[in-house]
């Protein structure tokens, strides 16, 4: 069960080789293994990948990254304190098989929900941080995700802290119906109050960031960067192909495409994230409320 491929309900995966993941799952590496890069097909060792934060050293392909590995890389050692780790979803609208789906997601991801929130320091600079979890129902946003991120922004507003976020999501969680959709508005409100109080919100879009997450907090940051080769968009590629009856061009909805169209500030290699983020935080430093 642990080695089961994460269920990815996003459309189009597999059609574009860069976006396909097959059965590879770097979070399961405890011992030395050899892995083929999904893009350039070169053989890589697991320890080599751990050293490069799961970026292929040959072609820069960015593998999916578990929440904890990302936090380990971004936060100063021992500085991360998690918030609301006990919040778990329940089947609030009585959707068929949702309990089972949640149970499986918890088992597959070893996490309670699709986002982890907390505070930390990044090269000595304090920040509130959220990291979405690709292994929990493809990072889908239900009421617990909405509540945790809202609380994080409220906390950061109160403490005058910047928020650093990492998104990966298929969008709003269908199994919680309209209440999932309402989380888009709820989080947007918290982001706005944080922003109006003069605080920085920095967001990193990772592969994939889609639907209701793109249409809310992923696109609301003051500074938005994307990981290379990420798919970022509102509608899934298959839906667009069905609607328009045309094949989509290569690289459509890729981070390079968003950069070209003017919707992200930069595309930055994961290995440079910590240095880049701390540089930006330093430029926005303000007094932290006690």
């Amino acid at each position: 069960m642990i080695f089961k491929k994460p269920k990815n309900t996003l459309e189009g995966h597999g059609k574009f080789s860069v976006f396909s993941r097959k059965n590879f799952d770097p979070k399961n590496f405890d011992e030395e293994l050899s892995v083929e890069c999904l893009k350039c097909k070169k053989s890589l060792s697991s320890s080599e990948l751990a050293d490069t934060v799961y970026v292929c050293p040959y072609c820069r392909y960015h593998f999916l990254l578990s929440v904890r590995r990302r936090l380990d890389f971004i936060c100063d050692k021992g500085s991360f304190t998690e918030f609301d780790s006990d919040l778990t979803s329940s089947n609030i609208i009585g959707f068929p098989n949702y309990e089972k789906k949640l149970r499986n997601a918890k088992m597959e991801s070893s996490e309670q929900e699709a986002v982890v929130c907390g505070k930390c320091t990044i090269n000595g600079l304090a920040a509130a941080v959220f990291v979405m979890n690709p292994y929990f129902m493809m990072g889908s946003m239900g009421t617990v995700v909405g509540e945790k991120i809202t609380r994080l922004f409220e906390y950061a507003t109160e403490k005058n802290l910047p928020v650093v976020g990492f998104t990966v999501s298929g969008g709003a969680r269908m199994q919680e119906g309209i209440l999932s959709l309402m989380q888009m508005a709820k989080i947007s409100g918290a982001v706005k109050l944080h922003s109006d109080a003069g605080n920085l919100y920095f967001c990193v879009l990772t592969d994939p960031t889609m639907g209701g997450v793109t249409a809310s907090f992923a696109m609301q940051a003051d500074i938005i960067i994307a990981e290379p080769f990420a798919r970022i968009g509102f509608a899934g590629p298959r839906v667009i192909e069905q609607t328009t009856g045309k094949k989509l061009p290569d690289g459509f909805q890729s981070s390079a495409f968003l950069l070209q169209k003017g919707f992200v500030d930069d595309v930055i290699d994961r290995r440079r994230h910590k240095r880049y983020i701390s540089r930006i935080l330093k430029l926005h430093a303000r007094e932290v409320a006690q």
Binding site: T9, L87, I92, I93, G94, F95, P96, G142, T143, V144, G146, E147, T150, A172, R173, M174, E176, G177, I178, L179, S180, L181, M182, Q183, M184, A185, K186, S188, G189, A190, V191, K192, L193, S195, D196, G211, G212, T214, A215, S216, F217, A218, M219, Q220, G233, F234, A235, V239, I240, T243, T244, K246, L248, F252, Q253, K261, G262, F263
Partner: protein, 253 residues
């Protein structure tokens, strides 16, 4: 009535569209076109007029009344420029202290190449953020289909009302069925699961009231709007209340 029957009613040909509501509720309506950035999106009608004695801004998604008009209006699936046009009018409403009325009737924001290129997600995201703190009263009424993010982009409001045969959902029943059972034909079952009727949403606290679809509907809506705006215009903590309205949805103890 089954959930899917409501869906069919909400989508039915001949059902009143935004233009009908404007014609019957608003006097002296002057339509305002364009987002000043890219184009004018005919899927969204925006403008100013009078509600009784009150000058108001009206914004609504328009599906079109016949085949030809539906083509022109893209069947009520707006592009980013539509949401940006709406936001521009809301900002003007704030400036001139006019209340905002939104009519929502959309299968969803348009899914296409141009929509993605021009930032469909970003346009919706900006509306959600700006509407939350817009310093003027906003009432949104779901008059037909409330399709996901494309509907929410005009429904961050002080109160949201639904007509008795309208629906409001995170995903269409067809889309839900396609994901769940790999069979878009099972939309009927999916509609039940999604809890998308006005009664369901009233129970969840997502809407404030359900409006009966009888022959007095335009007059009813008009009187309710006048009454609510008179109450809200004296409200001091309008935007705080708006935030709390959404803050409590899906709140976990």
């Amino acid at each position: 009535m089954t959930a899917y029957k409501r869906v069919s009613q909400a989508r039915a040909k001949g059902r009143a569209t935004t233009a009908c509501y404007i014609e019957n509720i608003i006097s002296g309506f002057a339509e305002m076109h364009g987002d000043r950035r890219f184009a004018d999106d005919a899927s969204i009608i925006a403008g100013i007029g009078r509600l009784g004695d009150i000058p108001v801004t009206v914004i609504g998604v328009e599906k079109g009344k016949n085949v030809k008009e539906r083509g022109l209006r893209n069947s009520g699936s707006a592009h980013p420029e539509g949401y940006r046009k709406a936001l521009r009018q809301m900002k003007l409403a704030e400036k001139f202290r006019r209340p905002v009325i939104c009519f929502v009737d959309t299968p969803g924001a348009f899914c296409g190449v141009g929509a993605e290129e021009r930032g469909q997600g970003q346009a919706i995201a900006e509306n959600l953020m700006e509407m939350m703190t817009l310093k003027t009263p906003i009432i949104s009424i779901i008059i037909g289909e409330g399709g996901s993010g494309g509907a929410l982009a005009l429904a961050v409001a002080d109160e949201v009302w639904m007509l008795e045969n309208s629906v409001y959902s995170v995903i269409s029943p067809e889309g839900c069925a396609a994901i769940l059972w790999k069979d878009g034909g099972k939309a009927k079952e999916a509609a039940e699961c999604l809890k998308l009727t006005a009664e369901d949403l009233l129970q969840f606290g997502v809407i404030e009231q359900i409006i009966a679809e009888d022959e007095k509907i335009y007059e009813t809506i008009k009187q309710k709007l006048i009454h609510t705006f008179e109450k809200n215009s004296a409200e001091e903590n309008l935007t705080e209340k708006r935030y709390m309205r959404y803050r409590k949805l899906g709140e976990i103890q």
